[in-house]
């Protein structure tokens, strides 16, 4: 049986991957996106509903990039929605409720709205001009759903005349209100035992995936090493399986009395040594430990338990690290051991974390893109991922060269075009005006490199295929013959570049985890916590950073306690009471009891403070006058003793106690509970994608987000001193001005002396 199961499982995984790959680049313009780069299109609140509750309702707008209503035009129009479903999810029932409005010009007998699931037509709704607005409920049979992405199609066939009809007449339209149309689902428990191959499915970003997980460690200082080093790996491993969707990580300690009873979430993760586990698990549940090991078991009632253990603390850490790399599809067992290689501490492989480097060429294939073909008339979009290193920096005039291989078939009509965009900036257009079709090899497009930002980018190819209009309105073409293909043999070439970046920059942090995540995947820094009850939020944040970095971050540690001073590259989570004024830079926002705010920020925060005692802070009063020039004039800074209320704040600045280019990032709230809730809000794509500047303050549910740049920028870089110099001067043109003034002064003096001497010479001769 096992002989049969293994190839079947591999084939199923392979099939899923293929489907995902095919679905990922080719999708209709309004379809839900399926890659991490498009995560921002999925509202966080909706994912909550999708993934946590066994029963729930999701509006269709959750799967659409366009927030407005869906308008289906012309004689035949359709829209696809790609709905992810965890492979471990057991659907009992799914009902689609559609609210629509159709044109009153339609012929009722010839106009229908069809609903298809994975290409099977499940319903046809008659579009009746006598009842132009309607609501329909369609059951989408559970057995037709499959793990991974499911394609839900809304298609209209609509006519206003029996013959001689203009297929693109304006009367031909039907509108679906996506915010009022929804999917109602009912999930049941998995009927079979889970295996480690289900781990990815358990934390799938789709329906049935877990948005929350509780990590448990033994109580006491003996487990500090595990908490410090193993838990970040665990959090990252699970968050990476969530792909682009957020994962809230909770942390609890167990005691000799047993595991906590009120652990939320369907999956709990136990991290500890065998002897610690033995204290809380029945003997039959204890794995036989022969090295770094991970075990996934059912605990009944649809709950699962992941045990990460090893014979020593180092082996437990190695097991956690192994989880970040493990290929679920190739691990069909419930238990896996990671034999340690000699040395064992080598850096993690990049694991698909491709970041394009300067001066190199990449085939689209190497970037994860597969040849995409679109057929039929209408608007389509092809997305090519262009991942950039977080510290990619080059001259602003440098050009990226695209050599595209694409073709289009014969019979395209007027209005058929290709538009090429980089992150929504139009860079090129091409009219597909050869009626016999055309094929292009190395079609050259150049665009400024500064259109690419750190982290994820996308080349968006908008395709509009239209059939030719010929022979009058009665001889229309349905355009089924139309075809456009973009090949994965296309090549992108980046200009030579160095590694340099301007900090602090929360946008760069959100896009890549930089600087806590280096371009090589190594962690560069430590997460410090004000108290142990902040381990959960810290792990949540760590997981989000791994998602941003598109791979595990090796070596990131979570340390409980705030050393004084907070040296090095540090990320701090603490309550305001745990922070000291001295921890903050002289010209940075202070989140300690005595807060320092830029005046602008204060205006937005005033309502959240309790009993503020405002005083205008001066430069000398704040710091004793040591430091660098402020970004804001001193009179624009306020000191106050106040709370943050239910808000949290995230600020980054050059670490005053650090050396060189170290960055200190602080996330603070009034209480650990509020901090945990706000971090949970923060990792949602709605908020995470809006981070910018060096100060962010937000409230419950991500409301009232305020972002500002308040402290001085500084530059970090390596490899190319000239580029670093360019970056430094660009951010601090005053340096250049000082140099220019000095050189001009010296030159003036020398010239003046020379001229004076010559003039004296003249006078003498005269």
């Amino acid at each position: 049986m096992s002989n049969l199961f293994r190839p079947c499982a591999i084939f199923a995984v392979f099939l899923s991957v293929c489907l995902v790959c095919i679905a990922l680049p080719v999708r209709r313009a309004a379809a839900v996106t399926d890659g991490p780069e498009s995560a921002s299109s999925l509202p966080d609140a909706v994912l909550d509903d999708v993934t946590v509750r066994p029963k729930g309702t999701v509006p269709l707008s959750a799967f659409s990039a366009d927030p407005g209503p869906l308008r289906l035009r012309d004689e035949a129009g359709e829209q696809n929605f790609f709905i992810p479903l965890a492979r471990t999810a057991v659907l009992r029932d799914v009902i689609l409720t559609l609210r629509y409005t159709n044109s009153v010009s339609l012929l009722p007998d010839r106009s229908v709205l069809a609903v298809r699931l994975n290409e099977a037509t499940l319903a046809q709704i008659r579009l009746d001009p006598a009842q132009p607005a309607g609501e329909a409920r369609i059951r989408l049979p559970a057995e037709m759903w499959r793990g991974g992405f499911n394609k839900l199609t809304l298609a209209v066939i609509q006519h206003y005349a029996d013959s001689c009809e203009d297929s693109v007449a304006p009367e031909l339209w039907t509108e679906v209100d996506l915010s009022q149309s929804h999917l109602s689902y009912d999930l049941g428990p998995l009927a079979r035992p889970v295996a480690l191959s289900d781990l990815g499915a358990l934390f799938s970003p789709g329906l049935g995936g877990q948005r929350q997980v509780t990590v448990l460690t033994p109580a006491g200082p003996g487990a500090d090493g595990l908490r410090q080093r193993a838990l970040p790996y665990v959090a990252q491993a699970l968050a990476l399986r969530r792909q682009y969707a957020p994962l809230e990580v909770l942390h609890r300690d167990w005691t000799a009395a047993g595991l906590p009873a009120d652990v939320p979430g369907a999956v709990q993760v136990l991290v500890g040594l065998p002897q610690d586990l033995a204290a809380v698990l029945p003997p039959q549940a204890l794995p036989v430990v022969d090295g770094p090991q991970a075990t996934l078991t059912d605990t009944g009632g649809g709950h699962s338990r992941l045990i990460v253990t090893g014979r020593t603390e180092e082996e437990v850490i190695a097991a956690a690290r192994g989880l970040t790399l493990m290929n679920d599809a190739l691990t069909p067992d419930s238990q896996v051991t990671f034999p340690r290689r000699d040395g064992g501490g080598g850096s993690l492989p990049l694991d698909g974390r491709i970041s394009m480097e300067g001066g190199k060429s990449y085939r689209f294939q190497a970037l994860g893109f597969r040849t995409a073909t679109v057929r039929g008339k209408g608007a389509y979009q092809i997305s090519v991922p262009l991942p950039m290193a977080p510290d990619y920096y080059t001259y602003e005039n440098a050009k990226v060269v695209l050599k595209l291989d694409f073709s289009y078939g014969a019979g395209l009509g007027a209005g058929s075009i290709l538009n090429f965009r980089i992150n929504d900036r139009q860079i090129h257009g091409h009219a597909m005006d050869n009626k016999n079709g055309a094929s292009f090899q190395d079609y050259l497009i150049t665009f400024p490199v500064n259109l690419l930002k750190p982290g994820a980018n996308a080349l968006l190819i908008d395709i509009n295929s239209q059939p030719p209009v010929s022979g009058g309105e009665c001889v229309g073409s349905r355009g089924r013959h139309l075809m456009v293909q973009v090949s994965d043999s296309s090549v992108i070439t980046l200009p030579e570049a160095g590694k340099a970046a301007m900090l602090p920059d929360l946008a760069r942090f959100a896009a890549s985890g930089y600087p806590y995540v280096g371009g090589d995947g190594r962690g560069a820094g430590t997460v410090y916590l004000g108290s142990a009850d902040l381990i959960g939020p810290a792990l949540t944040l760590t997981g989000r950073m791994a998602q941003a970095a598109r791979g595990p971050v090796d070596g990131l540690q979570v340390v409980v306690g705030l050393p004084a001073p907070l040296s090095g590259q540090a990320l701090v989570l603490a309550t305001t009471a745990q922070l000291q004024r001295e921890d903050f830079g002289p010209w940075a926002v202070s989140l300690s009891k005595v807060k320092a705010w830029p005046y602008r920020a204060l205006q937005d925060l005033r309502t959240a403070t309790t009993g503020p005692e405002l005083s205008l802070g001066g430069l000398g009063g704040l710091l004793g006058g040591t430091a660098a020039k402020p970004a804001l004039p001193d009179e624009e800074w306020m000191q106050q003793k106040s709370s943050l209320g239910d808000k949290a704040a995230l600020t980054a600045f050059r670490n005053p106690a650090g050396q060189g280019d170290d960055l200190l990032t602080v996330v603070a709230a009034e209480t650990p509970a509020v901090l945990a809730a706000r971090v949970n809000d923060l990792i949602g794509p709605g908020l995470w994608g809006q981070l910018q500047g060096d100060l962010a303050v937000w409230g419950k549910g991500g409301q009232d987000l305020l972002t500002l740049q308040v402290s001085e920028h500084y530059q970090v870089g390596r490899d190319n001193p000239l580029l670093l110099l360019r970056l430094i001067l660009s951010a601090n043109p005053w340096y250049w001005m000082a140099g220019a003034a000095g050189v001009s002064g010296l030159f003036t003096l020398l010239l003046w002396q020379m001229i004076r001497r010559r003039r004296q010479n003249f006078m003498g001769k005269s």
Binding site: E396, N397, W736, L750, L751, W752, F762, S766
Partner: protein
């Protein structure tokens, strides 16, 4: 305040020979060794520092911040007093502007030449080279003109009493100029205040050579014979000496060299046929030759008493605006003089015979023998002196055709010198003389750059070649500051003598024709031949210059550029920003071209001898005598303003006598005049009178009165040489550019109705 008083005041403010600073023979102390070490150390720091400041890269945002600060600083600095030549403030402004421009050029060269196709790259490089040329010219100009030298006034009376004055030969070469013109020049030359036994005036006639008289065409031969006879008689009558030669070889230089063999004066004064000297010409120039034996040349300005055709046809502000050559004679030559590289301009100069003879007379390898000769003599360690006082009044070419002929000759000649004499490596020249000459010579290559600046936007708009690879923000951060810095630099150096935007019109109008001439001379540097500039023409009717066709072509082409630009704006949203920028560029070209069209309508000019404004008094001797103001004056007549209530007002046709003081001559002259017109003017009564001299002495007095006083020319120059704001210049240009369109439309309409109205004229071209 009278002219004389003003002049006296002006002269009083100048340092003079008796100033303690100018004591003879006192050489300044040489810099000490320590001072030299410090100086070398300073240069050793400053040059790499300058390279760093120019080359260090910045993103556009940082660059923009830096440039805003620098331009703001320049704006403030330029408002501070900086007229003192060589003052630290002036040098600082020039340096900062140079840094801005060099940064621009470095950025263009390093980051903006990566166009998408080979042709685009080639065009981008060509445009870049034109920009490099412009910046090099600006920087050379800045260095040359950083310290314009104003020589102190030195008179014969300042020389020790026992000083033996040199003999002077005044040589007036002529080819085809009319006898009337030559008579005025000869009379003025003979009236120069200098011991009569030491002064000889020669007319060097190349129109009556033996070869001309012996030519095959009997009509031309007879004309040449008649000319010789006439001029011989004229010289005899006036007391001058007539010289001619066997053949017309080597044009003007050959003519003068031929005369040098027949004369023996210690000093040579060369005057063009239309260049009328003032009485004090030798009084102010010879002392420099006497005091400075190492000086081979004393050059003075060419003061033009009529507007050039662009000024007359378009600007019409001869009396209010500095003329085109004011920039050269009032600023550049003074700058060159500081660096020992002011050069001979062919006329209005005193040359020392000995060094001239030592090199075989005037050089004749190029068609600008004057500058070529100066380079040769500078290379022998001799010095030149430039005196900034107008003491020779000449004529500008009257027609645009003649103007172009003149400028093509200059452009070709200077390029010949650049190619044949190679001053950048010529032996004997100091580094600053090389800089000075390179500045003067390279300037004449401007047609290449100007045409590239015209065609580059068209290459983008019409051809779609991306010749300028930069974003809008980069243009704002790099290009705009460079343009502003260029304006500030130009305003500081030439603000008084060249108004903004005027150069663009002049250069554009010459470029079309000079470019072809330059290409020819580059292809064959020894090919060009001397072409005499036609002067003294009169025009009875307005007409469109026969050289207008290329401008029409360019005008249409630039207009087509707008059409393509509009299409690109609509069709290609990706390049919309760049298209907008290029359209602005094309618009500036269009405005300049439109203004140029105005200069192509040749305005009517009736007087061959233009009248210059005068501000002096006189007396009309009719019975009791009526005092009058002389409003304008020429050798042939004057306009007198009298009180309408005066008794015995002359009537048209009356013969009167005019008594007027001639300050330079130190006496009052009496002239017989015929009243040609009487009309009210500015609440006075204007009498248009024509001089009808009864005697030779009276004819001499007319010339003395009209041309004898250099203070009058100086006053005229001082009045019009002044700076104006850029916005004023812009509004002036905007006010002018509409006229050409109307004028051309009117004249073309007239031409269609009556083809003969569309006269064409050709300038006199003679080998």
């Amino acid at each position: 305040m009278t002219v004389q008083t003003r002049l006296s005041a002006a002269e009083a403010s100048l340092p003079d020979a008796s100033s303690p600073d100018l004591s003879d023979g006192q050489k300044p102390a040489a810099p000490s060794a320590l001072s030299r070490v410090w100086s070398w150390l300073g240069w050793g720091l400053a040059l790499p520092g300058l390279a760093g400041v120019v080359l260090v890269p910045m993103d556009w945002s940082g660059q923009m911040m830096a440039m805003i600060a620098v331009i703001a600083a320049l704006w403030v600095l330029r408002t501070l007093p900086n007229d003192e030549p060589g003052s630290p403030l002036r040098l600082l402004v020039l340096l900062l502007t140079a840094i801005v421009s060099l940064r621009y050029i470095a950025w263009r060269g390093l980051f903006t030449l990566n166009s998408s196709t080979l042709i685009s790259t080639a065009l981008a490089v060509i445009l870049y080279l034109a920009e490099v040329y412009s910046v090099v010219i600006s920087l050379l100009g800045a260095l040359v003109n950083s310290t314009p030298l104003r020589r102190p006034s030195l008179m014969l009376a300042d020389l020790p009493p026992e000083t033996a004055l040199p003999t002077v030969d005044v040589l007036i070469p002529t080819y085809n100029e009319p006898a009337e013109m030559l008579e005025v020049t000869l009379r003025a030359a003979l009236q120069i205040q200098y011991p009569a036994d030491l002064l000889r005036v020669y007319l060097l006639d190349d129109g009556g050579t033996d070869a001309k008289i012996a030519q095959v065409d009997p009509e031309n031969a007879a004309a040449a014979q008649a000319r010789r006879t006439t001029l011989q008689a004229l010289c005899h009558r006036l007391g001058a000496r007539y010289l001619t030669r066997a053949e017309n070889s080597h044009a003007k230089a050959g003519n003068i060299n031929s005369a040098l063999a027949h004369t023996d004066g210690d000093l040579i004064v060369i005057l063009d046929a239309d260049h009328v000297p003032t009485g004090d010409f030798l009084n102010r120039t010879v002392p420099w030759m006497v005091k400075r034996p190492d000086v081979f040349l004393v050059q003075t300005p060419h003061f033009m008493i009529n507007p050039d055709p662009i000024d007359r046809n378009l600007l019409q502000s001869f009396r209010r605006m500095p003329s085109e050559n004011d920039m050269f004679y009032q600023t550049i030559q003074k700058g060159l003089d500081f660096w020992d590289s002011s050069f001979f301009c062919g006329s209005a100069a005193v040359l020392r015979r000995a060094p001239l003879m030592a090199i075989g007379g005037l050089a004749g390898q190029t068609i600008t023998e004057d500058a070529e000769t100066a380079i040769t003599l500078h290379g022998q360690g001799l010095k030149s002196v430039y005196l900034d006082r107008p003491m020779v009044a000449g004529l500008n070419p009257e027609t645009f055709t003649a103007f172009v002929i003149q400028r093509m000759r200059w452009a070709q000649g200077m390029t010949q010198i650049l190619l044949l004499k190679r001053p950048f490596m010529a032996p004997g020249l100091s580094w600053f003389q090389r800089v000075g000459y390179m500045s003067s010579l390279l300037f004449w290559l401007f047609p290449f750059a100007r045409m590239i600046f015209i065609f580059s936007p068209l290459a983008y708009l019409i051809g779609g070649f991306d010749v300028y690879n930069a974003s809008t923000m980069q243009i704002l951060a790099y290009t705009v500051p460079h343009v502003l810095a260029g304006y500030i630099m130009s305003d500081m150096l030439f603000g008084r003598t060249r108004w903004p935007l005027i150069s663009e019109i002049y250069e554009l109008m010459q470029s079309i024709f000079s470019l072809n001439a330059l290409i020819k001379v580059v292809a064959n540097p020894r090919h060009p031949s001397f072409v005499v500039t036609p002067k003294g023409d009169t025009m009875a009717e307005e007409f469109i210059s026969p050289l207008a066709k290329p401008f029409y072509g360019l005008f249409v082409l630039v207009g087509i550029g707008f059409i393509f630009g509009g299409w690109r704006l609509w069709d290609d949203p990706v390049t919309r920003d760049m298209t907008m920028v290029v359209l602005v560029w094309n618009t500036l070209n269009f405005l300049t071209l439109t203004a140029a069209l105005g200069a192509l309508v040749e305005r009517r000019q009736r007087r061959a001898s233009p009248r210059m404004p005068a501000q002096q008094t006189g007396t009309v001797l009719t019975g009791a005598g009526v005092s009058c103001d002389i409003d304008d004056l020429s050798a042939g007549g004057a306009r007198l303003l009298i009180d309408p209530s005066a008794p015995q007002i002359p009537r048209k046709g009356d013969l009167i006598r005019l008594a007027a003081p001639a300050p330079q001559a130190g006496r009052t002259v009496m002239l017989s005049c015929e009243v040609c017109s009487v009309f009210p003017l500015r609440r006075r009564l204007a009498l248009g009178v024509r001089f009808v001299p009864a005697t030779e002495a009276e004819a001499n007095d007319a010339v003395v009165l009209a041309f004898g006083d250099s203070a009058r020319w100086q006053f005229f120059l001082d009045r019009r040489v002044r700076p104006i704001a850029f916005t004023t210049a812009l509004s002036m240009i905007f006010g002018l550019i509409w006229q050409p369109v109307l004028l051309h439309a009117r004249m073309l309409r007239a031409a269609i109705r009556l083809p003969s109205c569309l006269q064409t004229r050709q300038g006199s071209t003679h080998e």
